[in-house]
Symmetry: C2
Subunit: 187 residues, 2 copies
Amino acid sequence: MRKINVGSRVTPYPMPVTLVGTLVGDKVNFMAVAWINRLNNTPPIWGAGINKNHLTAKGILEQKAFSINFPTVDMIEKTDFCGLNSGNKVDKSGVFDIFFGELKNAPMIRECPLTIECKLHDTMDLGTNLLVLGEVVAAYTENQYLSDGKIDIKKVNPAVLTMPDNRYWTVGDYLAKAWGVGKKLMQ
Amino acid sequence: MRKINVGSRVTPYPMPVTLVGTLVGDKVNFMAVAWINRLNNTPPIWGAGINKNHLTAKGILEQKAFSINFPTVDMIEKTDFCGLNSGNKVDKSGVFDIFFGELKNAPMIRECPLTIECKLHDTMDLGTNLLVLGEVVAAYTENQYLSDGKIDIKKVNPAVLTMPDNRYWTVGDYLAKAWGVGKKLMQ
Protein backbone atom coordinates (compact mmCIF):
# COMPACT_ATOMS: atom_id res chain seq x y z
CA MET A 1 0.00 0.00 0.00
CA ARG A 2 1.36 3.41 -0.99
CA LYS A 3 2.44 5.81 1.78
CA ILE A 4 0.92 9.33 1.79
CA ASN A 5 2.78 12.30 3.31
CA VAL A 6 0.21 13.98 5.57
CA GLY A 7 2.43 16.88 6.62
CA SER A 8 3.99 17.73 9.93
CA ARG A 9 1.05 18.69 12.14
CA VAL A 10 0.00 15.28 13.45
CA THR A 11 -0.55 14.35 17.10
CA PRO A 12 -0.34 11.03 18.97
CA TYR A 13 -3.02 8.34 18.54
CA PRO A 14 -4.32 8.76 21.17
CA MET A 15 -3.52 11.46 23.76
CA PRO A 16 -4.48 11.47 27.45
CA VAL A 17 -7.18 13.87 28.65
CA THR A 18 -6.03 15.90 31.65
CA LEU A 19 -6.84 19.12 33.45
CA VAL A 20 -3.87 21.18 34.58
CA GLY A 21 -4.64 23.14 37.75
CA THR A 22 -3.01 26.40 38.73
CA LEU A 23 -3.38 29.35 41.03
CA VAL A 24 -3.28 32.66 39.15
CA GLY A 25 -3.11 35.37 41.75
CA ASP A 26 -5.58 33.92 44.26
CA LYS A 27 -7.88 32.39 41.64
CA VAL A 28 -8.03 28.65 40.91
CA ASN A 29 -7.91 27.84 37.19
CA PHE A 30 -8.05 24.63 35.12
CA MET A 31 -6.94 24.07 31.53
CA ALA A 32 -7.62 20.99 29.40
CA VAL A 33 -4.21 19.62 28.35
CA ALA A 34 -3.52 16.62 26.10
CA TRP A 35 0.11 17.43 25.21
CA ILE A 36 1.50 15.99 28.42
CA ASN A 37 3.38 12.89 29.57
CA ARG A 38 5.92 11.65 32.04
CA LEU A 39 9.42 12.26 30.65
CA ASN A 40 11.91 11.18 33.33
CA ASN A 41 12.27 8.21 35.65
CA THR A 42 14.38 9.62 38.53
CA PRO A 43 13.41 12.18 39.62
CA PRO A 44 9.84 11.68 38.34
CA ILE A 45 9.40 14.59 35.93
CA TRP A 46 6.43 15.26 33.65
CA GLY A 47 6.36 17.69 30.73
CA ALA A 48 3.48 19.66 29.20
CA GLY A 49 3.37 21.98 26.19
CA ILE A 50 1.34 24.99 27.35
CA ASN A 51 0.43 27.84 24.98
CA LYS A 52 2.42 30.84 26.18
CA ASN A 53 -0.59 33.18 25.98
CA HIS A 54 -2.78 31.03 28.20
CA LEU A 55 -3.44 31.94 31.80
CA THR A 56 -2.06 28.56 32.89
CA ALA A 57 1.48 29.50 31.72
CA LYS A 58 1.25 32.68 33.78
CA GLY A 59 0.06 30.79 36.86
CA ILE A 60 2.81 28.16 36.63
CA LEU A 61 5.58 30.74 36.23
CA GLU A 62 4.14 32.77 39.11
CA GLN A 63 3.58 29.93 41.58
CA LYS A 64 6.28 27.44 40.45
CA ALA A 65 3.67 24.74 40.96
CA PHE A 66 0.74 23.06 39.19
CA SER A 67 -1.44 19.97 39.31
CA ILE A 68 -2.34 17.30 36.74
CA ASN A 69 -5.83 15.82 37.10
CA PHE A 70 -7.27 12.79 35.25
CA PRO A 71 -11.06 13.15 34.85
CA THR A 72 -13.39 10.18 34.26
CA VAL A 73 -15.56 9.89 31.16
CA ASP A 74 -18.48 11.09 33.32
CA MET A 75 -16.68 14.43 33.69
CA ILE A 76 -16.19 14.95 29.93
CA GLU A 77 -18.61 17.91 29.65
CA LYS A 78 -16.90 19.84 32.44
CA THR A 79 -13.48 18.90 31.05
CA ASP A 80 -14.40 20.12 27.58
CA PHE A 81 -15.90 23.26 29.09
CA CYS A 82 -12.45 24.01 30.55
CA GLY A 83 -10.95 23.49 27.08
CA LEU A 84 -13.46 25.81 25.42
CA ASN A 85 -13.10 28.73 27.82
CA SER A 86 -10.05 30.81 28.64
CA GLY A 87 -9.44 31.65 32.27
CA ASN A 88 -8.80 35.17 31.01
CA LYS A 89 -12.55 35.47 30.30
CA VAL A 90 -14.33 32.81 32.33
CA ASP A 91 -13.93 32.10 36.05
CA LYS A 92 -13.50 28.30 36.24
CA SER A 93 -12.80 28.22 39.98
CA GLY A 94 -16.29 26.90 40.80
CA VAL A 95 -16.50 24.10 38.21
CA PHE A 96 -14.99 21.46 40.50
CA ASP A 97 -14.59 20.70 44.19
CA ILE A 98 -10.97 21.59 45.08
CA PHE A 99 -8.46 20.13 47.50
CA PHE A 100 -4.77 20.71 48.23
CA GLY A 101 -1.98 18.24 49.07
CA GLU A 102 1.53 18.98 50.30
CA LEU A 103 1.85 22.08 48.15
CA LYS A 104 -0.51 24.88 49.02
CA ASN A 105 -0.56 26.37 45.52
CA ALA A 106 -1.38 23.40 43.26
CA PRO A 107 -5.18 23.05 43.38
CA MET A 108 -6.47 19.52 42.64
CA ILE A 109 -9.92 18.26 41.64
CA ARG A 110 -11.60 16.06 44.24
CA GLU A 111 -13.85 14.31 41.66
CA CYS A 112 -10.82 13.11 39.66
CA PRO A 113 -9.70 9.53 40.41
CA LEU A 114 -6.03 10.49 39.99
CA THR A 115 -4.48 13.86 40.76
CA ILE A 116 -0.81 14.78 40.81
CA GLU A 117 0.90 17.79 42.39
CA CYS A 118 4.11 19.08 40.81
CA LYS A 119 6.70 21.67 41.66
CA LEU A 120 8.21 23.45 38.67
CA HIS A 121 11.53 21.87 37.65
CA ASP A 122 12.39 23.89 34.53
CA THR A 123 10.88 25.47 31.42
CA MET A 124 11.94 25.75 27.78
CA ASP A 125 10.53 28.14 25.17
CA LEU A 126 9.61 25.98 22.16
CA GLY A 127 7.93 28.66 20.03
CA THR A 128 4.17 29.00 20.51
CA ASN A 129 4.27 26.81 23.60
CA LEU A 130 6.19 26.81 26.85
CA LEU A 131 7.52 23.39 27.77
CA VAL A 132 6.72 23.12 31.47
CA LEU A 133 8.67 20.44 33.34
CA GLY A 134 7.28 19.53 36.75
CA GLU A 135 8.67 17.17 39.37
CA VAL A 136 5.96 15.12 41.04
CA VAL A 137 5.63 15.78 44.78
CA ALA A 138 2.76 13.36 45.40
CA ALA A 139 -0.17 11.69 43.64
CA TYR A 140 -3.63 11.04 45.08
CA THR A 141 -6.28 8.44 44.42
CA GLU A 142 -8.98 6.61 46.43
CA ASN A 143 -9.42 2.98 47.46
CA GLN A 144 -12.31 2.57 45.02
CA TYR A 145 -9.90 3.03 42.06
CA LEU A 146 -7.41 0.34 43.13
CA SER A 147 -7.15 -3.35 42.25
CA ASP A 148 -4.39 -5.37 43.96
CA GLY A 149 -3.01 -2.11 45.36
CA LYS A 150 -2.51 -0.57 41.91
CA ILE A 151 -4.57 2.05 40.10
CA ASP A 152 -6.96 0.19 37.76
CA ILE A 153 -7.68 2.01 34.50
CA LYS A 154 -11.07 0.31 34.15
CA LYS A 155 -12.09 1.84 37.49
CA VAL A 156 -10.51 5.22 36.68
CA ASN A 157 -12.34 5.16 33.32
CA PRO A 158 -10.46 8.06 31.68
CA ALA A 159 -10.98 9.51 28.22
CA VAL A 160 -8.45 9.86 25.40
CA LEU A 161 -8.37 12.43 22.59
CA THR A 162 -7.56 12.44 18.89
CA MET A 163 -6.81 15.49 16.74
CA PRO A 164 -7.49 17.02 14.22
CA ASP A 165 -10.84 15.15 14.17
CA ASN A 166 -11.24 16.41 17.77
CA ARG A 167 -12.92 13.41 19.31
CA TYR A 168 -12.89 11.89 22.77
CA TRP A 169 -12.79 8.09 23.14
CA THR A 170 -13.02 5.65 26.00
CA VAL A 171 -10.28 3.13 26.82
CA GLY A 172 -11.26 -0.30 25.53
CA ASP A 173 -10.46 -3.89 26.41
CA TYR A 174 -7.42 -5.52 27.97
CA LEU A 175 -5.10 -6.51 25.14
CA ALA A 176 -1.92 -8.10 26.51
CA LYS A 177 0.78 -8.04 29.19
CA ALA A 178 3.49 -5.46 28.61
CA TRP A 179 7.06 -6.72 29.02
CA GLY A 180 5.41 -10.12 28.62
CA VAL A 181 3.56 -10.87 25.39
CA GLY A 182 6.70 -10.28 23.30
CA LYS A 183 8.53 -13.18 25.00
CA LYS A 184 6.78 -15.50 22.53
CA LEU A 185 9.13 -14.16 19.84
CA MET A 186 12.31 -14.73 21.87
CA GLN A 187 13.09 -18.34 20.81
CA MET B 1 -14.13 9.29 49.85
CA ARG B 2 -10.73 9.68 51.49
CA LYS B 3 -7.73 10.53 49.29
CA ILE B 4 -4.67 8.25 49.47
CA ASN B 5 -1.15 9.51 48.69
CA VAL B 6 0.28 6.94 46.27
CA GLY B 7 3.72 8.53 45.98
CA SER B 8 5.42 10.25 43.11
CA ARG B 9 6.06 7.48 40.58
CA VAL B 10 2.76 7.44 38.69
CA THR B 11 2.36 7.62 34.90
CA PRO B 12 -0.48 8.86 32.67
CA TYR B 13 -3.72 6.86 32.31
CA PRO B 14 -3.15 5.85 29.57
CA MET B 15 0.04 6.33 27.53
CA PRO B 16 0.45 5.88 23.77
CA VAL B 17 2.38 2.86 22.46
CA THR B 18 5.07 3.87 19.98
CA LEU B 19 8.28 2.56 18.51
CA VAL B 20 11.10 5.08 18.16
CA GLY B 21 13.34 4.27 15.19
CA THR B 22 17.00 5.19 14.92
CA LEU B 23 20.12 4.43 13.00
CA VAL B 24 23.01 3.50 15.28
CA GLY B 25 26.08 3.34 13.12
CA ASP B 26 24.60 1.65 10.06
CA LYS B 27 22.19 -0.54 12.05
CA VAL B 28 18.43 0.12 12.25
CA ASN B 29 17.06 -0.06 15.81
CA PHE B 30 13.60 0.30 17.39
CA MET B 31 12.73 1.02 21.02
CA ALA B 32 9.25 0.82 22.58
CA VAL B 33 8.50 4.31 23.99
CA ALA B 34 5.38 5.39 25.91
CA TRP B 35 6.81 8.58 27.47
CA ILE B 36 6.25 10.68 24.37
CA ASN B 37 3.87 13.38 23.17
CA ARG B 38 3.62 16.45 21.00
CA LEU B 39 4.73 19.49 23.03
CA ASN B 40 4.67 22.48 20.67
CA ASN B 41 2.29 23.84 18.07
CA THR B 42 4.56 25.91 15.80
CA PRO B 43 7.02 24.51 14.91
CA PRO B 44 5.54 21.03 15.50
CA ILE B 45 7.85 19.60 18.16
CA TRP B 46 7.48 16.29 19.99
CA GLY B 47 9.32 15.26 23.14
CA ALA B 48 10.35 11.81 24.43
CA GLY B 49 12.04 10.75 27.65
CA ILE B 50 14.70 8.23 26.57
CA ASN B 51 16.85 6.36 29.11
CA LYS B 52 20.35 7.72 28.65
CA ASN B 53 21.94 4.24 28.66
CA HIS B 54 19.76 2.94 25.84
CA LEU B 55 21.10 2.55 22.34
CA THR B 56 18.31 4.84 21.06
CA ALA B 57 19.78 7.86 22.91
CA LYS B 58 23.14 7.16 21.28
CA GLY B 59 21.58 6.87 17.82
CA ILE B 60 19.59 10.10 18.16
CA LEU B 61 22.61 12.10 19.34
CA GLU B 62 24.72 10.60 16.54
CA GLN B 63 22.27 11.08 13.67
CA LYS B 64 20.29 14.13 14.89
CA ALA B 65 17.20 12.32 13.63
CA PHE B 66 14.67 9.66 14.65
CA SER B 67 11.23 8.31 13.78
CA ILE B 68 8.05 7.76 15.79
CA ASN B 69 5.93 4.79 14.68
CA PHE B 70 2.40 3.89 15.86
CA PRO B 71 1.86 0.11 15.68
CA THR B 72 -1.59 -1.51 15.47
CA VAL B 73 -2.86 -3.93 18.11
CA ASP B 74 -1.98 -6.75 15.67
CA MET B 75 1.69 -5.77 16.05
CA ILE B 76 1.66 -5.91 19.87
CA GLU B 77 3.94 -8.98 20.14
CA LYS B 78 6.62 -7.43 17.93
CA THR B 79 6.23 -4.10 19.73
CA ASP B 80 6.64 -5.72 23.13
CA PHE B 81 9.59 -7.72 21.80
CA CYS B 82 11.29 -4.38 21.05
CA GLY B 83 10.55 -3.27 24.62
CA LEU B 84 11.96 -6.47 26.12
CA ASN B 85 15.24 -6.51 24.22
CA SER B 86 18.03 -3.94 24.19
CA GLY B 87 19.58 -3.08 20.85
CA ASN B 88 22.91 -3.50 22.64
CA LYS B 89 22.28 -7.26 22.78
CA VAL B 90 19.65 -8.08 20.13
CA ASP B 91 19.66 -7.04 16.47
CA LYS B 92 16.13 -5.68 15.87
CA SER B 93 16.81 -4.50 12.31
CA GLY B 94 14.93 -7.44 10.77
CA VAL B 95 11.77 -7.32 12.91
CA PHE B 96 9.93 -4.94 10.57
CA ASP B 97 9.90 -3.88 6.93
CA ILE B 98 11.69 -0.50 6.78
CA PHE B 99 11.22 2.61 4.63
CA PHE B 100 12.69 6.09 4.60
CA GLY B 101 11.06 9.47 3.90
CA GLU B 102 12.73 12.83 3.38
CA LEU B 103 15.43 12.12 5.93
CA LYS B 104 17.75 9.29 5.05
CA ASN B 105 18.60 8.46 8.68
CA ALA B 106 15.19 8.07 10.37
CA PRO B 107 14.04 4.51 9.58
CA MET B 108 10.27 4.01 9.64
CA ILE B 109 8.14 0.86 9.88
CA ARG B 110 6.08 0.10 6.77
CA GLU B 111 3.49 -1.99 8.68
CA CYS B 112 2.66 0.96 10.99
CA PRO B 113 -0.42 3.00 9.99
CA LEU B 114 1.23 6.25 11.13
CA THR B 115 4.94 7.03 11.06
CA ILE B 116 6.63 10.35 11.75
CA GLU B 117 10.15 11.48 10.87
CA CYS B 118 11.83 14.06 13.09
CA LYS B 119 15.03 16.05 13.05
CA LEU B 120 16.57 16.68 16.44
CA HIS B 121 15.60 20.13 17.78
CA ASP B 122 17.21 20.05 21.23
CA THR B 123 17.90 17.83 24.22
CA MET B 124 17.80 18.31 27.99
CA ASP B 125 19.37 16.05 30.62
CA LEU B 126 16.59 15.28 33.14
CA GLY B 127 18.46 12.75 35.30
CA THR B 128 18.05 9.11 34.26
CA ASN B 129 16.47 10.13 30.97
CA LEU B 130 17.42 12.39 28.10
CA LEU B 131 14.57 14.61 26.98
CA VAL B 132 14.74 14.39 23.20
CA LEU B 133 12.90 17.16 21.33
CA GLY B 134 12.28 16.48 17.65
CA GLU B 135 10.75 18.71 15.01
CA VAL B 136 8.45 16.81 12.67
CA VAL B 137 9.63 16.83 9.04
CA ALA B 138 6.79 14.73 7.65
CA ALA B 139 4.26 12.07 8.68
CA TYR B 140 3.11 9.10 6.62
CA THR B 141 -0.07 7.07 6.50
CA GLU B 142 -2.09 5.18 3.86
CA ASN B 143 -5.51 5.76 2.29
CA GLN B 144 -6.92 2.75 4.16
CA TYR B 145 -6.44 4.57 7.51
CA LEU B 146 -8.32 7.74 6.53
CA SER B 147 -11.97 8.77 6.94
CA ASP B 148 -13.03 12.12 5.46
CA GLY B 149 -9.36 12.87 4.76
CA LYS B 150 -8.33 12.52 8.40
CA ILE B 151 -6.56 9.68 10.18
CA ASP B 152 -9.24 7.51 11.82
CA ILE B 153 -8.18 5.95 15.12
CA LYS B 154 -10.61 3.06 14.69
CA LYS B 155 -8.81 2.15 11.45
CA VAL B 156 -5.35 2.76 12.93
CA ASN B 157 -6.35 0.56 15.92
CA PRO B 158 -3.44 1.48 18.21
CA ALA B 159 -2.72 0.18 21.71
CA VAL B 160 -2.30 2.16 24.91
CA LEU B 161 -0.27 1.26 28.00
CA THR B 162 -0.69 1.57 31.76
CA MET B 163 2.05 1.27 34.38
CA PRO B 164 2.96 -0.07 36.94
CA ASP B 165 0.43 -2.83 36.19
CA ASN B 166 2.16 -3.08 32.78
CA ARG B 167 -0.86 -3.78 30.60
CA TYR B 168 -1.73 -2.93 27.02
CA TRP B 169 -5.31 -1.88 26.19
CA THR B 170 -7.26 -1.15 23.03
CA VAL B 171 -8.94 2.19 22.36
CA GLY B 172 -12.67 1.91 23.01
CA ASP B 173 -15.80 3.65 21.81
CA TYR B 174 -16.44 7.16 20.58
CA LEU B 175 -17.36 9.26 23.60
CA ALA B 176 -17.99 12.88 22.57
CA LYS B 177 -16.90 15.81 20.40
CA ALA B 178 -13.92 17.74 21.74
CA TRP B 179 -14.29 21.52 21.77
CA GLY B 180 -17.98 20.70 21.45
CA VAL B 181 -19.66 18.67 24.20
CA GLY B 182 -18.76 21.28 26.84
CA LYS B 183 -20.86 23.95 25.09
CA LYS B 184 -23.87 22.50 26.93
CA LEU B 185 -22.51 24.09 30.11
CA MET B 186 -22.05 27.55 28.57
CA GLN B 187 -25.50 29.02 29.27
